[in-house]
């Protein structure tokens, strides 16, 4: 019953999607407005059916309806309810349904909110949405059916991959998918602008907030993924440059570039072709990301099973890339005739540099990700490209970006005079240099971390100096106390101060990464009960092993008492979890986090023969907590930038 409801809903939605593609085309051909209205109806209809299908699958998961193959493979009777729900995105077919659901929610929202606006653009926007939706629905209907039945009905299911049984399963995939799918919105508007020929700034102004929101979810999704890797996978790291991590990060780079360069287009009407290319690139990378996880062409911890789905995604990717750039080429004549850059030292050029750096980083990461495949195709040699390559090339690029973050918001448009540069940057630069020299004197000598801290100080100081000047000016004009003046400033310049807060968040993340990458220490030892291990200021005493039976697995915990220079901190219990379906155990690391550093304990193994012996690996990673704090600050900054403090004037859309 559930399967029938679910599958037929998908098929009906697919039919509506087909109509959603045809209707705007017919409307354009015949000029009859009714077609455009019915395109909107097609989107809303798809929303209804896809929601029904999603709820059907969730229902089947929650009630453990094992007649559905997907439910049988991803839940067991013992799985707690919240993990049954996350089973919706735990494997290939369900994840496609989630993607489609988020897509159609966005489409429906846009169709409804803009039902009376942008009459030249909206029909094409809806066509693009229906097109993408049709693809995902078609894949589910014909190649990868979430409602496939299994006969005979098994008595119990296989269960979710144990690594996925974690609280982050509730947040990381939905956040990331919202970010990915959110990028479809500016893409659809960009395509609509190209198709309709209406290539002024309207499409950018309309979609700016949606793009910022999508960018925000993508940022948060990546950070939560890093957090998950850090506290669950038990290797003490938060980013491995795994192909699928890269696939989630790559769309973020052109999206960030886009957020900055559209400011140039808004103000100076430059870079139209470039901005269109950026958004096509960002959207294509989201499709590439789904292709990567589902095609099996690269080995990764995230990879879903392969099958015909890979080929279908490749085909769709080809259509998107070639079709979009084809449209761009077709309209190239309307995109010419733009103002030139006035001066090398100006905000335009700084933003351009920002774009160049981001695209260079993107190219580097993309090359590193597909290189194994390239080397195998060309030379027949299997290689793997790992962290050393990425870290070495990406670090200087991102530090250049940090420098630009300090310069960009303050430097003048068009042409920055020497006097202007002196007034704005001499103070922060001098102080940042002072910070560097004092750190150098304090024996922090390593090149990259020192540079990172210096540049971070520079950025923080430019923001501080500029805000102080603005507050002083405000109070000189309108009087009032400091907090009120600051609040008014922010309220009147949301984008600017929201941006400042986001940049501060990035600076904190950079500090966290510099500290943990530059100064982590680790030790590994085999300990008898009562023996201790020393690292840094800490002393860790092994007190014994404890085995227990949990609902879904057997667990062996090690008790380790931690003291800091004689002062007792507590007991940490890293564990190894033995799942019946997995040949080897899954580790559960435990760590103690302060703003200064993280103490990370991993139970590598224990002796089955000699009861009192365990292998412990311990890491001390400085400043990691600042990465998560920085993420929270970025969230705050985005909210400041986006929050509708006052109703926007109609024209400002």
């Amino acid at each position: 019953m559930t399967a029938t409801v679910g599958y037929s809903s998908l098929v009906l939605a697919l039919a509506l999607a087909g109509w959603g593609i045809a209707a705007p085309l017919l409307g354009a051909r015949t000029g009859r407005q009714a077609f455009f209205a019915s395109a909107r109806g097609a989107i809303l209809g798809q929303f209804g059916f896809v929601t029904l299908a999603s709820l059907a699958l969730i229902y089947a998961l929650v009630t453990t309806d094992f007649s559905l193959k997907y439910v049988a493979l991803n839940t067991t009777r013992a799985t707690p309810i919240y993990y049954r729900v996350t089973g919706l995105w735990g494997a290939l077919e369900g994840s496609l349904l989630l993607w489609e659901w988020v897509l159609i929610i966005f489409s429906g929202l846009l169709a409804w909110i803009y039902r009376d606006r942008h009459p030249e653009l909206m029909p094409w926007v809806l066509l693009i949405f229906s097109g993408v939706s049709a693809f995902f629905l078609a894949v589910m209907a014909f190649a990868s059916d979430p409602f496939e039945r299994v006969f005979p009905v098994p008595a119990d299911g296989r269960g979710l991959n144990p690594l996925l049984e974690d609280a982050n399963m509730l947040t990381h995939p939905p956040l990331l998918y919202t970010g990915f799918v959110g990028l479809t919105v500016p893409y659809a508007f960009a395509m609509a602008a190209l198709i309709s020929g209406k290539l002024d700034e309207a499409w950018i102004l309309t979609t700016r907030r949606w793009t910022v929101a999508a960018w925000f979810f993508l940022t948060l999704g990546n950070l939560v993924g890093a957090w998950w890797s850090y506290h669950v996978l038990g290797w003490g790291g938060y980013w491995a440059w795994d192909p699928v991590e890269n696939a989630a990060f790559m769309p973020w780079l052109p999206a960030t570039a886009f957020l900055h360069s559209i400011q140039i287009q808004e103000r100076r009407h430059m870079l139209k072709t470039w901005n269109l290319s950026l958004i096509i690139l960002a959207f294509s990378l989201t499709i590439f990301g789904t292709f990567l996880t589902r095609s099996g062409i690269l080995s990764s911890i995230h990879a879903f099973s392969s099958g015909p789905v890979g080929l279908l995604f490749l085909g769709f990717l080809a259509v998107v890339v070639l079709g979009s750039f084809g449209l761009l080429a077709w309209r190239a004549d309307r995109l010419r005739g733009q103002p030139e850059l006035d001066a090398v030292v100006s905000r335009e050029s700084v933003f351009l540099l920002n774009n160049v750096v981001l695209v260079a980083a993107l190219f580097t990461i993309f090359l590193g990700t597909v290189f194994p495949l390239l080397s195998e195709a060309v030379a027949g040699v299997t290689v793997s490209v790992g962290a050393p390559y990425f870290n070495r090339i990406v670090t200087p690029l991102f530090l250049a970006l940090v420098f630009l973050m300090g310069v960009g918001p303050l430097i003048a448009w068009r042409k920055a005079s020497l006097d202007h540069l002196r007034r704005n940057f001499l103070g922060p630069a001098a102080l940042a240099l002072a910070v560097r020299l004092s750190l150098f004197g304090w024996r922090l000598r390593d090149f990259w971390p020192l540079l990172a801290v210096t540049l971070s100080a520079f950025v923080a100081l430019t923001i501080g100096f500029d805000t102080a000047k603005a507050v002083r000016a405000r109070r000189a004009i309108a009087g009032g106390r400091l907090p009120a003046a600051l609040a008014t400033l922010v309220w009147r310049n949301q984008r600017r101060y929201g941006g400042f807060v986001v940049h501060l968040g990035v600076v904190l993340i950079v500090l966290g990464i510099a500290g943990s990458m530059g100064y982590s220490v680790g030790r590994e030892a085999m300990l008898q009960v009562g023996q201790s291990l020393s690292i840094d200021r800490f002393h860790i005493r092994f007190e014994g092993l404890q085995a227990s039976q949990q609902p879904t697995h057997r667990r062996v915990e090690g008790r380790f008492r931690v003291t800091n220079k004689g002062h007792e901190i507590g007991v940490l219990t890293p564990a190894l979890k033995y799942f019946p379906t997995q040949p080897s155990p899954i580790g559960r690391a435990m760590f103690r986090s302060t703003l200064l550093e993280d103490l990370y304990l991993i139970l590598s193994g224990f002796s089955e023969v000699d009861e009192g012996r365990a292998t412990l690996k311990v890491l001390v990673r400085p400043l990691v907590a600042w990465i998560w704090v920085g993420g929270a600050v970025m969230t705050l900054g985005t909210l400041v930038a986006l929050w509708p403090f006052r109703p926007r004037a109609r024209q400002e859309t």
Partner: protein
């Protein structure tokens, strides 16, 4: 037009690369060991003896890595035993190495399939690491001088076993390693 060429060219090349990628298995790691001398080791056997690889010099060795929970190992078990029965008299030794497994389960496996050739447990996993075992089952065939002449990952069939053992008895080194259905363990 220039845009289309500038973008379309590289895009098509990349798409072609990905299409090619769909035909490859990213997890397959080719071995550099074929033609090289086999790493010596000492294996504690299930019957209590210790067997070292040097003792078997002068005979062809059929070295098979397995685990009781691996379905393809189960699939090939009876074939291996039959091959052992056939080649016993011909200067060939079959040696099984049990990895990533519990002892009772391994013994139960040997009993279930009536395996009579020597088997031992690689408790620390060192032998598997020395031979670069990354999937199960994996089989190495060593010639009389202790050189690795063939590696096969996945379940073995009768034809392959007899062909490759025949080659090894004559000291022929294979040009390619073999691949069947396997379970990745690393």
């Amino acid at each position: 037009m220039r845009i289309l060429l500038a973008v379309g060219g590289p895009a098509l090349a990349l798409l072609g690369l990905f299409a090619y990628g769909l035909t490859r298995d990213p997890r397959a790691i080719p071995t550099p060991l074929i033609g090289k001398p086999a790493t010596p080791f000492t294996l504690p056997l299930f019957d209590g003896r210790q067997l070292s690889l040097e003792e078997l010099r002068g005979k062809v060795v059929f070295l098979n890595f397995w685990a009781s929970w691996c379905p393809r190992c189960r699939a090939e078990a009876r074939t291996l035993e039959a091959a052992w029965q056939k080649y016993q008299a011909q200067d060939v030794v079959f040696l099984g190495v049990n990895i990533q497994d519990r002892e009772e389960a391994a013994r139960a496996f040997l009993q279930e399939f009536g395996i009579t050739y020597p088997n031992g447990r690689d408790t620390a996993g060192k032998i598997a690491i020395a031979y670069g075992v990354w999937g199960l089952p994996e089989t190495f065939i060593l010639d009389r001088e202790g050189r690795i002449t063939y590696k096969h990952i996945g379940a073995l069939g009768w034809t392959t076993i007899t062909t490759k053992l025949g080659e090894a008895l004559q000291g022929i080194v294979s040009t390619e390693e073999g691949k069947g259905e396997y379970l990745q363990v690393r």
